[in-house]
Amino acid sequence: MTTTADPDQAAIPAVSFDTDPSSYRHWTLELDGEVAYLRLDVDESGGIVPGYELKMNSYDLGVDIELYDATQRLRFEHPEVRAVVVTSAKDRNFCAGANIRMLAQSSHPWKVNFCKFTNETRNGIEDATEHSGQTYLAAVNGTAAGGGYELALACEEILLIDDNSSAVSLPEVPLLGVLPGTGGLTRVVDKRRVRKDRADVFATRSEGVRGKQAVEWKLVDEVIPKRVWDETVRERAAAAAARSTRPAGAQGIPLPPLQREETEQGIRYRHVEARFDRPLGVVEITVHGPEGDLPDTVERVHALGADFWPLAMTRELDDLVLRLRANELELGTWVIRTKGEVEDALAFERVIVEHSRGDWLVNEIRHYFKRVLKRLDVTSRSLIALIEPGSCFAGALLELALACDRQYMLEGLLEEDAQEGEPAQIVLSDSNFGAFPMSNGLSRLGSRFYGDDDHVAKLHQETGRRIEAAEAMELGLVTDAPDDIDWEDEIRIMLEERASLSPDALTGMEANHRFVGPETMESRIFSRLTAWQNWIFVRPNASGPDGALRRYGTGRKADFDRKRV
């Protein structure tokens, strides 16, 4: 493939997110007691799709899928790890960032999905540092350019080797005409507190900054001479580990491969299923509530491990979201249902609430579900919750509905099941008031009723009670509550109407409505940096035949349209 071909005409390859350390091609995970070493050693010929070589430790989606897998396994399988050192196995080269030829040959959706996923993984790294007592350190033992430096920025500490040649840099603007879109621009000023004029100089200087100046500008925390590099890194890691709150002697739980059945019509896991309606552009997702006995002790939770319903369901949902986002671009509306007993869902949730402070595993599960909900929040699909009889949108599972753009709840019963069963119910629990914050730092209820704290407080008094459609409507928890006369038509017409709207306008509209109120670094990365990046990606100055991205490496200069927009 040449860089002159139009990338948006190429077929989008199917992506799988399955991997484990024994099959990593680009990373090695070395465990040394409390400290783990993640060494980037990219296999040049190991691109996830053909057409480019991953030179100079540059990465593509495949490399990042392994990184994501490693961060997840460190949290669940290796509770003994208190500090993680991200470094390079290559000489004088930490990481050159996202592979440029890969970007140049990729379609727009592929670039956007790739950036979203890498952003989520880096946010996850920060989440592990903050909530799991697994502090990430970047041991930058060679040049870190672009996405390479952005990976370091996601770590709590950045150590740079002082060899008079290794530099950190964000060369995207001067060399490629795009942004350091994996949090780079945001974290430099927001997390590292680099002054904005220096950040401006830094982000337009392709060779970057090294040595003492890098420390002075706060781009790194410390520069370390080559001869004491290894031992200093070890010391810093040990110090970080010592600050950790992780329990001693904890036993990890293995994360076995997911059981997944894929057909033309959908994807089915043990607790989650997705059915495709291609003519309508809809995926019908059903999350099945817990079945079987409730584990009565935390020991039992550990014994169940990956089979413990909340973890098993969350892993499946995570995988489904990633697959649908990457592989099913034309299924623009996700209809989300749950199925199960409200009581069971609440009982399982109580185990989580009870132990999430005291038990590392339960704590990890809570944060994992939080991250998957955040994935939903930034998913560029219309999300519609259908709350029907037999559903179990209660407590934590209710967050699934609240993450949706609209919620429809059936009032009463449909004619055919009018003889038996109970009407649809939802239940609020403490979990809906802050256990699963969005990237803006608010709960989904807090976002929904932004500026109306009284109403949120009123809702807090309604916890634990079964709320039926009419009351849910009154409390503002659902968009509409049609009865059996209207249900079928309303839902059909709503879905068809949605399918007829511009996908781009919907993406923009939904993202604007989902995130209200305060900004956080995380929300800024998605709302500001990503939005600008995606705009730049479609502009001819970047991705046109004469744009900087496509001209890179051809020996020819980009031909810019000079108009500022």
């Binding site: 209207d486 017409i493 879905l495 109407e497």
Partner: protein, 470 residues
């Protein structure tokens, strides 16, 4: 398919088998009856000789009998379904028609149906007091026939809203009864339907010109890819034909009587002799024709183009037209004013669909003029009636900023003002016409300003007692 009158709501849509729809319509029915009692005909009657639909097919679909009006069996009647029907125009031409509302077009279809539906009860409201001055029992009966059928057309639109548009549709159906003609707070949607019909000449003009606009609008909806709408409108068109008949023959009879009086008294000024002078009739034509032209909307319309392309609304007799029915490559000429002159311009055919429909309407209106002029000719009168220029007295579209005389001359505001009373009914004209409006309720008798009809209803004589009073 025959109509089931054993049901609470007569229908040929198997209402009994659709519990949801039945519930929706049955809860709307009492509100409709309340509306009919408060906003329907003001003259109390015992019963009226009315036509009721009994089947929708070609063979004898009507049944005549004396009926107490509030017991009239309004119902839901659709023309027979053609299982092979395909979309005849637009970008989905050739595909099977839709039996359900596609979500993509929900809003547009609902809007079209609501606007059509709003006009039906509006005319009943406008004509509410006319019964008090009917020139004969025959005419009174015709008025009520028109009224009950407008009421049924409301049912037809409400059926569509209830059956296909969910809760939103039901709310719109409710609102059709809440808006009222001429109501300051909650008027009918289209301006022409907020004017009271003050006298019988206006009524005949309204049924001739304004109901004819309705006929053409129904004709475009009959082409719709949304099959239930198409079938509904097809049957409504059959009923609409009677309204046209009332208008056409009504004006016939006024013209005939005026000619008679002119001859009898050998003068054009027949007002002192209890007749309506021809120039007043002409002014009424000018007025009703021009306000009805406004109902076709702007000559150039992107809405109309979008409706056509989407398959929602076709052209008049779409399937008989000899073109590609897609029109993306075609052009049309429209008349307009440029640089102080009336001229024509070529525009994309898709944008000129309102103009296309209006053109069909205008040539249909001409046939009435021919008829009335024949009456004059037979009456030995040399004067002739005519349709004014399409640009005359317009408030909507390309001519609305200009003054154009009935003959089609572009004039300035001063000329317009100076001649306005020659072209449009004056207060004096209206007062005179109103002064003639005295009820004649005795069987076989008729008011002096109008000739009796040549035939009665359903082979009954003119003298038949079409209406019984309590």
């Amino acid at each position: 398919m025959s109509i089931d009158y054993s049901e609470k709501i007569p229908n040929n849509v198997d209402l009994a088998g659709d519990r949801k729809l039945q519930r929706a319509l049955e809860s709307w029915q009492p509100n409709f009856l309340t509306w009919w009692k408060t906003m329907g005909p003001a003259v109390p009657t015992e019963d009226v000789y009315l036509r009721t639909a009994v089947a929708v097919g070609r063979e004898g679909w009507a049944h005549f009998d004396h009926v107490a009006m509030e017991e009239y069996r309004w119902g839901v009647f659709l023309a027979e379904r053609n299982a092979d029907r395909r979309i005849a125009f637009g970008e989905q031409k050739g595909q099977p028609v839709w039996q359900q509302v596609p979500g993509e077009y929900r809003a547009d279809l609902q809007r079209l149906i609501v606007i059509q539906g709003d006009t039906e009860p509006a005319s009943v409201e406008q004509q509410r007091r006319l019964g008090e001055t009917a020139p004969s029992l025959y005419d009174l009966r015709n008025l009520f026939q028109v009224n009950v059928e407008e009421g049924r057309h409301l049912w037809a639109m409400v059926y569509l809203l209830h059956a296909y548009f969910g809760r939103n549709g039901r709310e719109e159906a409710e609102a059709l009864l809440q808006r009222n003609s001429g109501d300051l707070d909650s008027p009918r949607i289209l301006g022409a339907f907020n004017e009271e019909t003050p006298d019988w000449l206006s009524f005949f003009m309204f049924t001739y010109f304004t109901d004819r606009d309705g006929k053409y609008q129904l004709g475009t909806l009959k082409e719709s890819a949304f099959d239930p709408l198409s079938r509904t409108c097809e049957f409504m068109l059959k009923e609409e034909a009677h309204h046209m008949f009332v208008g056409t023959t009504g004006v016939d009879r006024v013209v005939a009587r005026s000619a008679e009086l002119m001859r009898e008294h050998d003068t054009e000024d027949i007002a002192p002799h209890g007749g309506i002078p021809l120039d007043v009739i002409q002014k009424y034509i000018n007025f009703h024709y021009s306000v009805s032209l406004d109902l076709f909307g702007s000559e150039q319309s992107t809405n109309a183009a979008n409706y056509f392309t989407a398959g929602l609304k076709g052209r008049w007799q779409e399937e008989r037209r000899k073109d590609d029915h897609v029109l993306t490559e075609d052009a049309a000429r429209i008349e307009l004013v440029r640089d102080g002159e009336l001229t024509t311009d070529e525009v994309p055919a898709l944008l000129a669909l309102n103009n296309d429909l209006r053109t069909e309407y205008v040539s249909d209106c001409q046939s009435g003029l021919k008829r009335w002029n024949r009456v004059l000719e037979q009456g030995g009168i040399d004067a002739r009636l005519y349709l004014p220029h399409v640009g005359f007295n317009r408030d909507v579209g390309l001519f609305s900023d200009h003054h154009i005389t009935p003959k089609g001359d572009l004039v300035g505001p001063d000329v317009w003002e100076a001649n306005r009373d020659r072209w449009l009914p004056t207060e004096a004209d209206k007062t005179h016409v109103r002064s003639l409006m005295r009820p004649v309720y005795e069987p076989g008798r008729i008011a002096g300003w109008i000739a009796p009809p040549s035939h009665g209803i359903n082979d009954k004589p003119f003298e038949y007692e079409y209406v019984h009073f309590p």
